[in-house]
């Protein structure tokens, strides 16, 4: 049973064809049918150039959404990730410009990402402060700190070797390779490692998890740390594509990341979901944004669409749970 089919069973129950009615399958169908329909209206939508733009420009969102999915599955939320990526990108770029070896400018964001997120996870887990409060506070600390330290200066003249995202691996652009690898590795980890399973257990029923020998507090810290690692990787993919790093936070990034996770099938109440779905959802959202341009709808409607999408998914998820609970009563 593959990771995909596993999640399929979680949402659509077991057996036969119903497994294909999973959130992932649904998303894959949506991605393809949207491409076909918009491509029919405007064939340029399917041009290599545009497809590459969609994937390259949004791979970092998909990567960040992987960690976000884990955080949500463990029963928490993080709204600081957008600011963190902005800060890490600036630090990474500054190091590169200052003449640090390339691998240092790549490694430092990963380490800092893990450190910041693990610290937040520790406050959430051990001091019992709701994750929304901790990460809302962190969001403003990072955002305000970034602008007040850099004064909004742009980072230019990045050395050529810094641009990791420009490389190709067997003919495929690096961001896409990293996105696919990260998704696959995370999916396998969530599925096969004891700690990955503990994440589901903690989000599903922390008290029962404790009785079964899982330490929910340590699990939460670990999940936040991993989320920080993916935020660091996302930063690399994002920052090394840019010729100029603007020393600010990509506007509304945290909401795009949360949307990708939720639309990808992660139940916002914790405990259910996969990372494959969130990657597909990130691609779908990027595709929708791009499609709007090709069918001559103003891109300013993108955010409203994204908001509507997350709202609809959340309501559908809760209604589905309520129906399932009602069915269980009857058994």
């Amino acid at each position: 049973m593959s990771a995909t089919a596993f999640a399929g069973a979680a949402s659509a129950r077991t057996g036969g064809l119903r497994r294909f009615a999973s959130q992932e399958a649904l998303l894959a169908v949506a991605v393809i049918s949207l491409a076909v329909v918009v491509g029919a209206i405007n064939p340029r939508f399917l041009a290599y150039r545009n497809v590459a733009d969609i994937l390259l420009g949004n791979a970092y969102i998909a990567i960040a959404a992987i960690g976000m999915s884990m955080v949500i599955i463990s029963g928490n939320i993080d709204i600081s990730v957008g600011s963190l990526i902005g800060v890490l990108a600036t630090i990474s770029g500054s190091l590169a410009v200052a003449g640090a070896p390339t691998f240092v400018s790549w490694l430092v964001p990963l380490i800092l990402g893990v450190a910041v997120m693990a610290a937040q996870g520790a406050v959430v887990a051990y001091l019992r402060i709701p994750s929304i409060v901790v990460t809302l506070g962190m969001l403003s600390i990072l955002k305000g700190g970034l602008i007040s330290v850099t004064g909004g200066r742009w980072i230019t003249d990045l050395p050529q070797s810094f641009h990791l995202a420009d490389l190709n691996v067997v003919g495929l652009p690096m961001p896409v390779v990293i996105m696919v690898l990260a998704t696959a590795l995370a999916a396998i980890w969530m599925r096969y490692s004891p700690r990955g399973r503990a994440t589901y257990a903690t989000g599903g029923n922390a008290e029962a998890a404790r009785l079964c020998g899982v330490d929910p507090q340590r699990t939460v810290v670990m999940v936040f740390a991993i989320h920080g690692l993916f935020a660091g990787i996302a930063t690399l993919v994002y920052a090394t594509q840019l010729r100029v790093i603007q020393s600010n936070t990509p506007a509304g990034l945290e909401l795009t990341v949360i949307t990708a996770s939720v639309v990808g099938g992660v139940s916002i109440l914790g405990g259910v979901g996969t990372v494959v779905g969130s990657t597909l959802a990130a691609i779908l959202i990027a595709e929708i944004t791009s499609a709007l341009v090709f069918i001559n709808v103003s891109p300013y409607w993108t955010d409203a669409l994204r908001g509507g999408l997350i709202l609809a998914t959340v309501i559908a998820d809760i209604l589905r749970r309520q129906r399932r609970a009602a069915r269980e009563w009857k058994k």
């Binding site: 709204i79 709701p130 916002i268 994204r306 908001g307 959340v314 809760i318």
Partner: protein
Amino acid sequence: MSVAAEISARKAPWWLKRHETLLAIILVLALIGLGAFNERFLTPDNLLNQGRLMTEIGLISLPMTFVIITGGIDLSVGAIVGLCAIMLGYSWKNFGFPLPLAIVFSLFVGALAGFVNGLVITRVKVPPLIMTIATLALYRGLAEGVSQAHSVRGYPEWFYFLGQGSILGVPTQLLILIVLMVVSGVVLDRTTFGRTLYAIGANETAARFSALNVDRAKLIIYTLSGLASGLAAFVLVSRVTTTRMDMGLGYELDVIAAVVLGGASIFGGSGTIWGTAIGLAMIQLLKNGLALTGVKGDATIVVIGAALILSVLVASSLQRRRD
């Protein structure tokens, strides 16, 4: 700012419980300290101007106090401010509404946005945090979509009275804030509605079993939260003379920080309007004080973020010691 603080401090002795008293003392000490440090600070002009600047956050923090007392949260308030500001400008300029009607219309949109939050929270039982994150994206997106990033200016002179005018030397909007603050405080302290909110936050099941209408109370507070955001949008547009789609960005942080700093428990069941008033004054004081000492505006949100986390930390560790 100090006016509101002084009013609550003077009326307070029998209302203020220990937390508020402590906060008020810290506030007064900070005022004196800043005054000694910088002679431009403790001037009537500066204080009144600070009062003007904090009104938008203050208006929203009143219903937010209600919401947090019930154990809920509303993250969509900043987005509603943006949506209402756009609705005000666009219904006037582009739909051709007379300006007074446009104002009423934007207030209605704000109330409706809050009502939708409340409706889904009570009927579908979506947790408030999740619901208002989703509508934060939706309402901001609607503001962007409707406005197409165009701004609106050129309002008639009378429109600026609310945001820039004064009555007897006191900024107009500050007077409105003070009146609404007193009304909210009395409602929370003296009415069955206020008591219902505390009961919901402390034990929602027992509140239901005591024949209190829990869902109706929640619906009302989220609607009020939207309405107050709409009013804040009106005040804001009138003060800065322009309507832009990014208005109110990040307001949720300041509002929640003011309420939590004011002693409301993020877990529900406790909090007062008087505490929120002091929390609000402290945040404005922080911004002003940092600005006067030459710190840029962006650094102040760092401090507000840290203050939010710290105040929750302190409150929860005090709570644990009491139990």
